[in-house]
């Protein structure tokens, strides 16, 4: 490690640590590095501009953001929820199950955990806490936990970011996320069932069977969305980036013409909000690219790889250690920062140890999503706190069992790679 690189890392940690925007901290740290190396300071701009301007894949990110905001504004999320209440609301711990199942279906339409928490979170939390059946903390915690499934079941913004830094195939990453997403849903529902029994949560009034066809018809166009996306991508019809645009377009048409829930003012609001999020994510991507350029020119990932090989560490031990590291970092850092900046450090090590990059990618993304609900820095906790007003302390007190079962699910995925790789292999993945 050179002195310039050490200064760069110190500048980054110092600035980001005292609360400066992380993206700007990365750019300034990169400029410090270039100055100390006596290199052209314009290189920072060059890397950021070329990185954003050259990658077709990145366009999926703003398009998925638009799609998710359109679905939330266009009552698509709400109808989905009513459908889930009719189907699984009748069982013990009903609304908790509704929460998880709705998140799983929503995950098949959107690629963002925050969109999931905002979209169905507020409505389901109101339903759960009305009449005091569930404590606000519990309702918020299960909502936050189930939102982590959003980017695991495809489509997925974090997986697009991972594909960007690892060169793994987005199509196979998306496929690899389906079974893990279902497993996460299953462990959350198991925990919810156990809790409902222990605290004797009263049963919901079941939606009469004869009303189910009507509710289904109302939700049908929304339910078709995951189907269209998956058939589009895996029928070989569209690329994942195009699928993102089609998802947004479909949401627009359904919400505007079928559900008549959009007008010019709401669409303007959706676009403003989406442009804001896109700019913020885009700057992080750009800043991470210049930072990764520096890390690569310092040859850090290769050094990490040779150090790991020197330790003679087994692939499994490496995976377990790296996951502990990511979980700890997840308590402090934002998921996109971990995926764009920390993960590239370990990609060459994975290659050297023969770890499959799709397996590593899914495990890392699941890990980072758990990071979204681990205090003190858990974006999903903040979002739910901001949209519902439930105190952070109450949410955090109730979140631990959910984090626990999700870590168990993560461990299973680490130990049994076939859970992840089975589906991609059926579609021709040779890894």
């Amino acid at each position: 490690m050179t002195l310039a690189f050490a200064a760069c890392v110190v500048a980054l940690f110092l600035l980001a640590g005292i609360g400066a925007p992380i993206a700007l901290s990365m750019i300034v740290a990169a400029i410090v590095y270039l100055a100390m190396k006596g290199q052209d300071l314009g290189l920072a701009a060059e890397q950021i501009i070329q990185g954003l301007y050259d990658s077709f894949v990145i366009l999926a990110v703003p398009l998925f953001i638009v799609a998710a905001n359109l679905m939330n504004a266009g009552t698509i999320s709400e109808r989905l929820l009513q459908f889930c209440v009719a189907i699984v609301g009748r069982f013990k711990g009903g609304l908790g199950h509704v929460n998880v199942v709705a998140s799983m279906i929503f995950a098949g339409m959107s690629g963002s955990a925050v969109a999931d928490a905002v979209g169905i979170g507020r409505v389901i939390i109101n339903m759960m806490t009305k009449d005091g059946r569930y404590t606000p903390g519990y309702a918020a915690a299960i909502t936050a936990a189930s939102s982590t499934i959003g980017p695991i079941i495809p489509p997925s913004i974090p997986m697009v970011l991972y594909a960007l830094v690892s060169d793994a195939s987005i199509g196979y990453l998306f496929l690899g996320g389906i079974v893990p997403g279902v497993i996460m849903g299953a462990v959350l529902m198991a925990l919810n069932a156990m809790m409902a029994r222990r605290y004797e949560v009263p049963l919901e009034r079941p939606v009469p069977l004869r009303e189910i066809p009507a509710v289904t018809v109302r939700a049908f166009p929304a339910l078709m969305m995951p189907v269209i996306l998956l058939v589009g991508i895996y029928g070989g019809v569209t690329t994942p980036t195009e699928a993102a645009a089609i998802a947004a377009f479909y949401a627009l048409i359904v919400a505007a013409f079928l559900y008549r829930a959009l007008n010019v003012a709401t669409i303007r609001g959706v676009m403003r909000e989406s442009a804001r999020s896109s700019a913020s994510v885009g700057l992080i991507i750009g800043a991470a690219l210049i930072f990764n350029y520096i890390v690569a020119s310092e040859n850090i990932p290769a050094q990490v790889a040779s150090a790991m090989q020197g330790l003679d560490i087994s692939p499994l031990a490496f995976l377990l250690a790296i996951n502990v590291l990511f979980l700890v970092l997840g308590c402090l850092l934002d998921a996109s920062t971990i995926i764009l900046v920390i993960i590239p450090l370990f990609i060459p090590t994975c290659r050297a140890l023969g770890i499959d990059l799709v397996h590593f990618g899914i495990v890392s993304v699941v890990n980072c999503m758990i990071g979204l609900i681990t205090p003190p820095y858990g974006v999903l906790l903040f979002v739910i706190n901001a949209t519902t007003g439930i105190p952070l302390r109450a949410i955090i007190a109730a979140i631990w069992p959910f984090i626990g079962v999700l870590i168990v699910a993560l461990l299973i995925m680490i130990l049994v790679p076939d859970i992840i790789l089975w589906l991609p292999r059926r579609f021709g993945y040779t890894g």
Binding site: I22, A45, L59, V66, E242, A279
Partner: protein, 164 residues
């Protein structure tokens, strides 16, 4: 915030939204031309990437406030008010200083592309990339302004309350 500043900010947000909407529409044209009319348009991809670049840097220059950025504020919110002011001042000076130091080289990087045009549409690339200069100058100005306000006794968190 003054009425004029609010109007300008609203306008900036609408420009960002329009750029994004245009990008979305262009992407749909691309899909339509390829799958529906079976005659892939070649200009759409380039237009999308150009618009994406502009969405990001326009937004970061004129729309995003301090709070809209991803920040690690665990430490920031835990310290005392005067410490917070010091944190905010150091951040602002470092960001403005760093971007300012790189500005001349950035300028020559962007203007160098005067001689090159984009492959399909043929827009001069210095025009395409110029939004980065706009972003750099806006960031420098904003953080100098912020540093000045903090030195004069302003509350570093006020701007955040004004733009929720």
């Amino acid at each position: 915030m003054s009425a004029l500043a609010r109007r300008l900010k609203g306008l900036a947000e609408d420009v960002g939204a329009a750029l994004l909407a245009l990008m979305f529409a262009t992407f749909l044209v691309q899909i339509g031309s390829r799958y529906v009319f079976n005659a892939p348009a070649s200009w759409t991809l380039e237009a999308c990437l150009t618009l994406w670049l502009w969405v990001v840097f326009w937004g970061c220059a004129f729309v995003l406030g301090e709070r809209d950025h991803v920040r690690f504020d665990v430490l920031y919110v835990a310290v005392s008010r005067s410490m917070r002011r010091a944190f905010a001042l150091v951040s602002a000076l470092a960001i403005a200083g760093g971007m300012l130091a790189a500005l001349p080289a950035t300028w020559s990087y962007v203007t160098f592309y005067e001689i090159k045009r984009s492959a399909v549409i043929g827009i001069r690339l210095d025009v395409v990339f110029s939004i980065y200069l706009v972003f750099a100058v806006a960031i420098i100005a904003r953080y100098i302004w912020r540093a000045r306000a903090i030195v004069r006794g302003g509350d570093p968190d006020v701007e955040e309350r004004a733009n929720p």
